[in-house]
Structure formats: C-alpha cells, structure tokens
C-alpha cells in the first residue's frame, strides 16, 4: 500500500480529475503520519513541475528520508539524467517519469541502463476515449495520441521496472477504480503494476483487489482527508485474505 502525495508549491494538494486543486498542508507531516501508520511506500509527485520545467522536491525528500524508512518514489518534471541523479541523491529510491518518456521514449532506455530498471517507474495518466484509453501528459492536461495498452508494452520494453497507472477519469472522485483498465494493462506486462485513482471507501479497495490483477495500490484522497487510515485499510484487507504487509 502506497501513499501518493501530490505537491504544488510545497503544499500537499488534491484535486478531482487533476483539477480544482486544494491545499492540504505540509507534505512531510503527511508522509510521517502514513509511515507511522505502516505505509509500505511513499510517492511524492510534483503536480505542476512538468508545466514549469522544474522539480523542486529535493528538500522535501531530504527531510522525508530522515524519518521515513520505507521506499520513496519521486515524480513530476524528471527530464534529464541529472534530475534522476538529484532525486536519488536526495534520498529517493525510484523516479516516476511520464511527460519526458512520451516526448523522448529513449530517455527511459537510457535511464534504466544507467540507474537500473529497479529505480525507473513508467508513470501513465490514462483517460478513456472511444477506442479504449489514451495516455495524457502534464497532469492530465494534454493528449498524446498514444494508446495505453501499446504504451505500457513499449515502456516495459524500454526498461521501465514498474508501471504507475493513474486513471485520470477516476482521480479524486472517490467512486472506485477502473477495474477494466487495470486488468487490460496487467495482461500486457510482467513488471509490477501500481494502480492509482478512485479509492473512496474500503469496499472500493477490497473490490479492486478481488476483481483486478496488480501489485500495489496508491492512495491519495482517502488518506489525505482522513476518511480511512492505513491501519484500518490493512486490517480489512487481511480479514478479506488479501495479501498485504502486516
């Protein structure tokens, strides 16, 4: 179970379908709380970085890894080998890349050769269209014309070690996951799949665990708004015989 913390200008933010962002507070305070509750990984996502050509989460990561002893992933605005180096030197274990992978797929190949595929996460923002699902960049703003099911195969081929799949349609709505999308994607790849976007209550989480095949689940709104706690979700999952770290 992963907590996904979207950040804009030093604040945790959460919107609906990546829009109407609300400020919620200090990212490190949120991260520490989730760590203490037993979260398995933390994803820090600079929500507007790719729009402004920057990623300035380094000091947040530096602080986080002083008190958080689980894997940390950083995403948003990772464009160069130097950006990855900076993120890893700040204490991140993995980087999630979307926009730059679309603009220059070879960047994924290059990055996974240099740093190892274990630290390169292919991040995907999926929106439904009439032919299936299309990949979006810049936080759900721009179409890419890439079909999600082709794009995940390409990412795996290029050397991504993991896929973070966000359903833009479901993001922040708290109305459940896009099970169809998840199963379609997982049937295409052998690398671990992390799903994101849609959790609103315990049933959404246990349902998607039973109905879809994936490796990890990233939660935002349900945790940020204190609708559910990490302990509470894990307890329910264990009761339902869903494999989760105790």
């Amino acid at each position: 179970m992963i907590s996904r913390i979207d950040i804009k200008n030093e604040h945790v933010i959460k919107g609906i379908q990546f829009d109407g962002l609300r400020k919620l507070g200090d990212p490190n305070r949120f991260a520490k709380k989730y760590y203490e509750q037993g979260i398995d990984e933390i994803v820090f996502m600079d929500a507007v970085a790719s729009l402004y050509d920057r990623n300035n989460l380094s000091h947040i990561i530096r602080q986080a890894c002083k008190e958080i002893f689980v894997p940390i992933t950083v995403g948003g605005g990772i464009r160069t080998v130097k950006d990855i180096e900076n993120a890893l030197n700040s204490g991140a274990d993995k980087v999630a890349i979307n926009t730059q992978a679309i603009k220059n797929p070879d960047f994924i190949r290059q990055a996974s050769r240099i740093f190892g595929s274990q630290c390169i996460v292919g991040s995907i923002e999926a929106k439904k269209n009439e032919n299936g699902w299309e990949s979006y960049i810049d936080n759900g703003r721009d179409k890419t014309g890439k079909n999600i099911l082709d794009w995940v195969c390409e990412l795996q081929e290029l050397g991504a070690g993991e896929i973070l799949l966000t359903s833009v349609d479901r993001d922040g709505l708290q109305k459940g996951f896009d099970t169809k999308l998840i199963n379609k994607v997982s049937s295409k790849i052998s690398i671990p799949l992390i799903i994101s976007g849609g959790a609103g209550n315990l049933t959404h989480i246990t349902d998607v665990c039973k109905e879809a095949s994936f490796d990890g689940i990233a939660l935002g709104s349900v945790l940020h708004y204190d609708k559910l706690s990490v302990e509470q979700i894990k307890k329910t999952m264990m009761k339902e015989n869903i494999r989760v770290r105790a």
């Binding site: 002083k66 002893f69 671990p192």
Partner: protein, 199 residues
C-alpha cells in the same frame, strides 16, 4: 558515550537512508574508507547496491578486504546489506566469475526469471528467521541471491510462493541481510537496533 558505527565507503549505491536510520538510533555514523577509522570503530556495516564485480574491485583497490577480515577477527559486530552481504560469499557468477570475501561458504547466482516473478525482484516479502517464530515483511531489491553450501549459516529464508531463497546469513559476529533493513519500516529498524545493541 555514543557508539561509533562505520559504513564502509566503496562507492556503491545510495546509503542516505542507512545513515539516517543509524542517526535515529543515536549512534555516531561515519562513511569512510580510512583503514584506521574503520578498525577503531565499534561496529562496521558493508552496504551496497550494484554489481558484484564492480563492488569487489572497489574493495580490493582500496585494500579494504584485509581491513574487513581484521575487524571481524576483533569480534566486534559486522553487518552486510544486499550487495554487501553477497560480497561476503566465496564467489559470484554475475557477468564474470569473481571471487568474493569468502566469509561465508556460498556463492552468488542470478535469480531465475522464469518462475513467475519479475527480476529484478523488488518488493516486500515475508521472511522466516531461524531463531524466531514471528514473521515480518522486509523490502527486497535484487537480481542475485546467495546460495549457501553450509546451511548452518542460514539465518533467514524467504519463500514467496515462486522461489525459496536465502534472506539472511549469520556466523559468529557477522550478519548479512539480502533485503534492506533501512527501507523495511519499523521491523527493519529493529534489526539495525539489535545490531547496535550488540556493541
């Protein structure tokens, strides 16, 4: 007085979390390749991520192999993590066959990738220790595993349903973890704490 823990600096991987974990346990931490500083410390950690061959040649270039042997002979606690643990084996077949430190009777081989889980193997796995009936999950990130010839040194095993492999080794004052205790939440920190307590 605070205890001194040395992390051996041989230029492999990100050790920021390990340093932070030790600091949180209230010990002095130094990251060094200085022979005297290592030998004078209270405990030594050999960390590492990356390739066996590269790691071993860095150790040999800095003549750190003999320093590690001397430190072990002193009876003070030593911990290897991930590649650091693998380097304690006799040899590895990663890329080219390379001799290791030979502290443990074992060799390192690639994880089979046809058993239903992906390699590199990354993620949380339940680990069974030989000296405890309690099992917890720890965080793994590796493509190679240690195969022990002398099973008496097996300290923990992991069976993820696809493959059973060595998760930790122990022999007198030396312990080695295949997983990353510094990334394994509070149960990982507990292992580092009990290591520090041995000083």
């Amino acid at each position: 007085m605070k205890k001194n823990v040395c992390i051996i600096d041989y230029k492999v991987g990100n050790i920021r979390s390990l340093i932070n974990a030790l600091i949180s346990l209230n010990v002095n931490v130094s990251l060094t390749d200085d022979h005297d500083e290592i030998l004078n410390s209270d405990a030594v950690i050999l960390p590492g991520v990356g390739s066996f061959h590269h790691g071993m040649s860095n150790l040999l270039d800095k003549k750190l192999d003999q320093v590690i042997f001397d430190f072990i002979d002193s009876g003070k606690p030593v911990m290897g993590i991930c590649l650091g643990m693998q380097l304690m084996m006799k040899s590895s077949e990663e890329f080219v066959k390379t001799e290791g430190l030979g502290i443990f009777d074992g060799h390192v081989k690639k994880l089979p990738d046809d058993l239903g889980f992906s390699v590199p193997h990354i993620g949380w796995e339940q680990v069974n220790f030989t000296d405890s009936s309690e099992t917890y999950d720890y965080f793994f990130c590796h493509s190679y595993v240690a195969m022990l010839d002398n099973k008496n040194h097996m300290y923990a095993e992991c069976d993820n349903g696809f493959y059973k492999f060595c998760a930790a080794v122990m022999k007198e004052n030396v312990v080695g973890y295949q997983f990353h205790p510094e990334k394994s939440g509070k149960y990982g920190i507990k292992l580092i704490q009990s290591f520090v307590n041995k000083i």
